[in-house]
Symmetry: C2
Subunit: 338 residues, 2 copies
């Protein structure tokens, strides 16, 4: 759009809103459903299977970081939530809450990021809405995506299918996204840090197409690997034991975590998948993952055990051979990394 700043009137529904849609959103997100500009996008019938629906709000600070931006992140987050449920992502919606005075160039960058991520994931942003709030009532821009996908017939990922003995795989090094954002915020950027933000749906499709016995998958975003394992342990009624020496963490991520007093096991990924798999298929699954650009750093990081009332649901076998519980943290440790 023309260089300048976002005005309250850009969210009023009148002439300036129409110009914003025509000049910024439609050219970047080009598709006939969005271009119909009516109250709801009417889509072709879905392929066979069960529809899957999800939503995510994105308030990351800063909105542009090494390896991504708030727009790309919002598309990847929703695509990935669908993919790990076994759904093929199809259509997304995208709502923006802009702060009065927002630099139009920053909006352009995030729209371009969203468009690029959508192309990479093979999805379309078919409906949107934009509101503008007064200065001091927002923080540049917030985005909320919702996504519709379809779980093909016969596919049934569910944490309740996880059994003692199953292996836990990570599709790559962990914590890159959260460490990158926190480093930006503390003036520590550089030194090879880069968000892992990426749509994982093609990786998931390749893995499921290989025929390995995947029980369930999750993307370890907010709260990281440890929090995701807590949620899975509770739903599956099992205990998850991670092996510290097997969990892949880049040295740059480890360095930032040490500086900021963070445990990488609680730091968000935005382009990684945790996979629970039958023990006999773990090796074959790793080989499949290693053959995909997003899975080259995949590793077997742990095992599922029987639960017991007197034992922590998620534990880490440390490098020196001890076991320490990974507690569920309160949530104040890493605000606004997504």
């Amino acid at each position: 759009m023309k260089r300048g700043a976002i005005l309250l009137a850009h969210g009023g529904g009148g002439r300036l809103t129409h110009e914003l849609v025509r000049d910024v959103f439609l050219p970047a997100l080009d598709n006939p459903y969005l271009a119909s500009l009516t109250d709801a996008a009417v889509l072709p019938p879905l392929p066979a299977g069960r529809p899957a629906l999800t939503t995510d709000a994105f308030v990351v600070d800063p909105p542009i970081f090494a390896g991504g931006d708030l727009g790309a992140l919002s598309v990847c987050g929703t695509v990935n939530d669908l993919a790990v449920t076994g759904a093929r992502p199809l259509w997304l919606t995208w709502a923006l809450i802009l702060e009065e005075g927002l630099d139009a160039a920053l909006l352009d960058a995030c729209v371009a990021g969203a468009a690029s991520a959508a192309r990479e994931a093979g999805v379309q942003l078919v409906a949107g809405d934009t509101k503008v709030v007064p200065r001091g009532k927002g923080d540049r821009l917030y985005a909320v995506t919702a996504g519709l996908g379809v779980v093909p017939p016969g596919r049934d990922l569910d944490d309740r299918r996880i059994l003692p003995g199953d292996r836990v795989l990570a599709s790559g090094p962990i914590g890159d996204h959260g460490a990158t954002v926190m480093a930006h915020r503390h003036g520590l950027e550089g030194a090879g840090l880069r968000s892992d933000c990426a749509p994982v749906n093609s990786l998931v499709e390749v893995l499921l197409a290989s025929g390995v016995a995947v029980r369930a998958m999750h993307d370890p975003t907010r709260g990281g690997v440890a929090t995701t394992c807590h949620e899975v342990a509770a739903r599956a009624g099992v205990r998850i034991v991670l092996d510290e020496t097997s969990v892949p963490v880049r040295p740059e991520v480890l360095a930032v975590c040490e500086l900021l007093g963070l445990d990488p096991l609680y730091v968000a990924c935005e382009g990684r998948v945790l996979i629970w798999i039958a023990p006999g298929d773990a090796g074959r699954a790793l080989a499949v993952l290693h053959g995909h650009p997003l899975g080259q750093g995949a590793a077997d990081i742990g095992v599922v055990e029987e639960t017991a009332a007197d034992r922590a649901p998620v534990v880490l076998t440390t490098a020196v051979g001890g076991r320490r519980p990974l507690d569920l943290l309160s949530g104040a440790e890493l605000p606004r990394i997504c």
Copy 2:
């Protein structure tokens, strides 16, 4: 939830987020899809027809007003966007951006409002997300809904079906929502003002089931009746002539508009529908509308004419018999009414 204030940690994805979901969202929005608490809600196959998808962001100030609240408004807005496209609304997602320090009682009230509106509309909120931003980076709470519905086979509402001679119906008095919110903001509340916020899907179903020849429908939200008519005139390639004496406006709404210098034709409704209909069916359609609780104030407010390059696309025939163009305004007139 326990009386208190929202903390940053409620949005961190850890223990406090889990408690918020368990104590506030799940009890109020009770349904098995949301309760699965996984990355995406996996739903039963859709009924036959074309899926429709939409999204809306809600930043209304104040978040509670006579006749509604931000939660109820967010559900009604999305249900209505689906309904006027001819879709039967089925499933909604709901994402919240909370400001640190938000009074928990205000959150409870908006969650209750959303739950109540969803019950009235016959939809379920099946997926959600909550983020918390620091004090001064939000304004109590913002909500973003997305909605999935299905347009039944054979139903085809489209502005391009509108023809010269068609009548324009309004399902009730206009401007109640916007006038109520603006009155609150200027300390003018009272005196019978009340938002029209309501889900219109049952009204739309009754009308379409009656067999009258509806060409298209729209809900005149942001920008009001005049802005909606502009959008329709552009898409349909027609001119729309409204009759000032036929447009129903409550005296309380007119009084607030006169005090604040607003034209009710530009003030948002959140429970009204504009209906474009074949001229011979207008009378029968009005009778159907009058038989529904939400359509008792329905009126025939105008007519569609052929467009011409030198004539304004939307005009008003005034009480004294003149014609004045209703221009598309810039959008700064009524900020944050939805």
